[in-house]
Structures are given as C-alpha cells and as structure tokens.
C-alpha cells in the first residue's frame, strides 16, 4: 500500500476550480516532486493533504486523501491528528520569531503532549536539530531567538520543527525559493539524507530541482494532473506534449 493515496480530489477557491479530479499515489521513502508553473495548484494540492487549506474560508475540497489507509477527510477524524502526520515546511522560512531556537523545535511536541518530561524533550529537540543538520551550528545558542539565524538556518530550523512531531511524511512547499544557492543546495542535500527515514513531497516550480532531488514527479498544469511517473522516465521520455514543453523550459 502506498503511504498516501489521493483519489478524485477537487478543490475550489470560491467559484474558481483549482484542483481538477486529482488521482495520485505516493510511495514510501522517496522524494516525490510536484512541479508546474505558478498558479497551477501545486501548493493547494499540498495543503489539501494536511487540511491546512481549510484555513482559507473560501476554500472547498471534495474527494479522498488517505494516509496509511486512513481518510483524512473522514467525519470522525481529529483534524489536529491529521496535521501531525504531515510535517510541513513553507516557502518563506517561518520560525516563530519571538521564540528561542529550542522552543521553536519544542513547541510542537510540548503543546501536543508528545513527551513525558523535560529530559525527553531535550533529547527530542537535539535529535530533530541533528537530523536537520543544524545542531552543530546552534548547540550553544539554543536560548537565543530564532530570528538571529540566517535564512538557510531558519529553514533548517523549520525542518527540525516539523521532524520533532515524528510525522509520517514531510511536505515542503518550495522550500528553497527564498534562499541563496548555497543554502538551497544544503536543503537539497538534507532532503536526500532524510529520504532514508521519511517520505518527502516537495512542491517546486523549478523542473531542474525536481530532476535533481526527486524519485517520482508529478506535473500539474492549470489544476490538472498531466503526468506522473519515475523522475528519470518523465524527464527523458515524457508521455505528454505539455510535460515535454515544461521540462525543456518552454512553459512556466
């Protein structure tokens, strides 16, 4: 069974139909890229998975998203549980600026009651920061505000914050779009490392990035899923003309 199964997913903002009948399966322990030009619905698809889309009062969703076989849109489900299964990293690094580096990582497990005591929390924070390749840079500054970190460090802190919830999957919404090339490549390296233990879904408008990091790729165009497959296949022998034009840079 795939980790995530999306079937007949539709989404609207008001009257605007932004996701049109999406069917998609995301296997385990891979990097799955969703690529497409801006406004094609990539970020909406990501937010439909962890139900963050519902923060937008105009958004409407129909269809099914299953994680480990459980439908996240089922009536009986606790939405906070759903969101904890998906760690999320955003386009603009968004650590809580008034909280310390430590508290940014600790806030999720602490407020969700996932740890029993302080020492367990300390261990979890250290583990998450190590996983995010940040521990060595910040271990002496844990009490300092997160806003003192550089953009790339802030983004890795956000990855640590997501990891600390022990999610089943990590969603990344253009995580390198606002970073310099050096910081961006560090994030990409980190993703390849995390793939050992996690499934990562990355949204990107940059086909080169999808080609570099992903194992599977889906091409989304104007709300429709045009093509999905193994990255090597999609980039070398695309089935659809639109995909071909996109990967060679003729649209986007």
């Amino acid at each position: 069974m795939s980790l995530v199964e999306i079937s007949n997913l539709n989404a609207w903002y008001g009257d605007k139909h932004v996701l049109k009948n999406i069917n998609l399966e995301i296997p385990r322990n891979i990097i799955f890229a969703i690529m497409g030009p801006s406004g094609c619905g990539k970020s909406t698809l990501l937010r439909a998975m962890n139900r963050l889309l519902e923060l937008n009062p105009n958004a409407k969703v129909s269809g099914q998203v299953k994680i480990d076989g459980i439908d996240v849109y089922s009536d009986k489900i606790d939405i906070t549980w759903v969101r904890r299964q998906f760690g999320m990293v955003f386009q603009i690094p968004n650590p809580f600026p008034h909280l310390s580096i430590y508290d940014n990582v600790a806030i999720g497990p602490r407020m969700n009651g996932l740890v029993k005591n302080k020492s367990e929390l300390d261990q979890l924070v250290k583990w998450a920061l190590e996983k995010a390749y940040l521990w060595d840079e910040v271990k002496n500054d844990l009490k300092k505000p997160a806003s003192m970190l550089s953009g790339g460090q802030q983004q890795r802190l956000c990855i640590a914050r997501a990891l600390a919830l022990k999610p089943k999957i990590i969603l990344m919404d253009e995580p390198t779009a606002n970073l310099d090339p050096v910081a961006a490549s560090k994030i990409e390296e980190l993703m390849l490392e995390l793939k050992e233990d996690y499934t990562i879904v990355i949204v990107t408008h940059n086909p080169q990035q999808a080609a570099r990091v992903s194992d599977y790729v889906a091409f989304l165009y104007m709300g429709e899923l045009i093509e999905v497959g193994e990255t090597s296949q999609v980039f070398t022998r695309p089935v659809h003309k639109l995909t071909e034009r996109y990967v060679v840079g003729k649209i986007g």
Partner: protein, 267 residues
Amino acid sequence: MLGVISLLAIISAIPIFAIIINIYSEGLKYVSLSFLIDFPPPPISGGAGGIGPALVGSLILIGLATVIGGAIGFFTGLYLSEYSHTKLAQYTQMFLQIMVEFPTIIIGLFAYSVLVAPLKRFNAFAGAFALSIVIIPYIALNVREAYKSIPYTLKEAAFSLGLSYPKVYLRVLLSTAKRGVLTALLIGMAKAGGETAPLLLTILGTTFTYFEGLDQPINAIPLLIYNFALSPYERWHQVAWGASAVLLTIILTIFIISRLVVKEVKI
C-alpha cells in the same frame, strides 16, 4: 508653504503642553503622600485633606472595567480578525466603530437605566459596567489590529503543528501579538481612568467613605474633580487641582508604558 504647515503643526501641539504645565503648576503643590490617602477636607475648616476614597475608587473602577471590557474586547477583537469574512464580523466591526464615537454620557444613562434605577441605588458596579462599554470598542479594534498584523505564514506554521484553535490563538499567536494586545489593554485602562460622563449617573460619588462594596456608591478622581471644582469652597478647589495632577500622572504613566511597549515591537 512648508513653514506655514510646520507652524500649524506646532500650534496644534501647544494645548497638550499648556495643559500639562497648567495642571502641574496649579495642582502639584497640593500633592503629597497624605493627599493620596486622606479623606477630602471639610469645606470650611480642618486640615488639607486628600483624595483617598476617589483614588481607591478609580483604581477599583479601572481594574474592574479592564477585566470585563478587556475579556469581552479581546475575544471580540480576535473574532473580528480571524472571521473578518463573515457578515457578523463585518457588522460588529461597524457597530464598534460607531461606539467609539458614542457620547459617553449616553452610555452612563444606559447603565443608570439597567443597573441603577432597578436597584434604586447608585453603585460601583454600574460605573464599572458603563466604563466597560466605553472601552470595549477601543480594546476590540486594537486587538483586531494586533492579530491582523501577524503574518499569515506564522498562522499556517502554528496550525501545521497540529495545534487546536485555542492553542494556536491564545498561546502561540498571542505571544507573537502580545505587545499589541497589551497596548490595547493599556489604552482601555487610560480611557477608563479618564472618563467622567459615564460615572455621573452611575456611582454618584461619595466624599467621606472608602469602598464599601460593588453595590454601594463609590467615588472616582474625574468625578471628584468635577464635583469639587463646581463647589463654592476654595479648599475643595485646591483638592480638585491636586486630584487633576494625580489623574494626569496616572494617564501619562499608562501612555508612556504603552509607548515603550510599542517601541519594542519595531525592533
């Protein structure tokens, strides 16, 4: 042209300095520790006296109004910020904006009709109730601004951690917006401390008794100033000047604190 505008700007700032200089030069000489504690003097003979009951009354009224108005205003402001797309929020906001401009004597009259007339007694609670109504729109609209100013991406971050609405808004985001919220409460406090009109018809103003219960009359500094300044007695005029200096100090202190709070936000 610029010279004229600058001159007009300076002229508009003159009253505040004139008022501060006037009040302190007339009133400060009567203020001492005993002035803050003692009963007012008898009109004709006796010692200098003080404003003890009115000061205690004002602090009680400010405290109570801030608690009631603060709680209602805070949650209203939060609602206005987060549900701004709903008709209810849009109408509520419009009504609050009208209420900011409401003549406060009318609010006092309303409190009189619902809390004084039925009980057949002027009482402290009616005053606090009237002041709460006066400050709710100020607090609600400022709390709304405080929450509106939180970047959307931080809201998304908080919700993505699987936190419930109360945890997101009252813990994570409140700590982001705390300075704005604190400023809103301070503005409400200053407003509650300085209002006279809502108190005229609600608390009556006792002269020679301290606080005796929320169902009993009480005094407040603005009301004491009003009553004493209108009296024919010279020594009561002096108490009114001293009380004005104390009131001005309270309001300026609250204002300065709120400025310092706001200043920190920008760093």
